[in-house]
Subunit: 163 residues, 2 copies
DNA sequence: GTAATTGCAAAAGATTTGCAAGCGA
DNA sequence: TCGCTTGCAAATCTTTTGCAATTAC
């Protein structure tokens, strides 16, 4: 889908709920769409928006992000560093992506498929709990960090870990 | 398992890593064990510990919780309200419990089984990502809130939602 | 005895709020 | 025009840090 198309769709959503289309809101939405893969923090969004709209204030960015979160356009997530991050929800899927969080390099990879359909049914069946959303994150070591590790240990030393 | 037994086990773990057994640490551990189901925030832990050990300071509680988190005795989680919460890890299972978070009443129920074994294998296989831990939360409406909802709507009105 | 640990107070971040001015519909 | 929005600064809330005094081993 084209960027403009996505922007328009979100603008439509705002309008339909009676919210005004201000340049601050539009710029923030564009920044989020252009950094879809990045899990930006509020401050990062602020800095990026400020590049194009220098008068904007931090508080406005927080308010826009809050609004988009309420409208389910973004999802606020917390990976454990001090700050909340914002994940754009896919236009078609109502669910948050799954994440692979590398504890060595801090990189976050996304799994866009929904792997939880059958588990949601199980929750419904066993707990009588109606699922509206879910969150699945894996922590561990990504393939490129594993490669670096192997690289570092090469040389046939075949060493054992000692405490 | 008895409480004292669990406390001893954790004390052993501290000692083996060269940490000292202070009354502040012991009291904090006891409080966490006695509120295993509660997902306490740092402040809540602080207040509970303060009841038995009034001289303790907030900073100490944060430091103890950090330490227990590092030793994998508790797991720091963030459900999206402003503050981090602490979940005791089961003595046998290395993984964090799954959670059913009710968006109506805010209650958090735990699933103690590990439902993710096969998905972890898939992550390993498809992404070359070695999983060390995971997190699975479902948001939705719990059975008792659904019941309250039904109760409220009874009387055969059979109404439709209007915006 | 000595290094780890603590309590306090201050600092640091992240986020929210009050309010007068500005702007979109 | 009118009420929603904004920018700023101050306030709030959570968490961290520096440091001298204390304590477990």
């Amino acid at each position: 889908m084209m960027l403009t198309e996505q922007v328009d769709r979100i603008k439509e959503r705002l309008k339909s709920k009676g919210y005004k289309l201000t340049p601050q809101r539009e710029t923030t939405i564009r920044v989020l769409l252009e950094h879809e893969k990045d899990h930006l923090s509020a401050e990062e969004v602020f800095l990026l928006v400020k590049e194009r709209f220098p008068e904007i204030g931090m508080a406005t960015v927080y308010r826009v992000l809050d609004l988009l979160n309420e409208l389910q356009i973004v999802q606020k997530v917390n990976f454990g560093d001090g700050a909340a991050r914002f994940d754009l929800r896919a236009a078609n899927s109502p669910h948050l992506h799954h994440h692979l969080i590398c504890t060595q390099c801090g990189n976050v990879e996304e799994i866009m498929e929904d792997w939880l359909v059958s588990l949601e049914k199980r929750v419904e069946r066993e707990f009588g709990f109606t699922v509206t959303d879910h969150r699945l994150d894996f922590q561990g070591v990504c393939s490129s960090c594993q490669m670096k590790e192997r690289e570092k240990n090469k040389g046939g030393k075949n060493c054992q870990a000692v405490s």
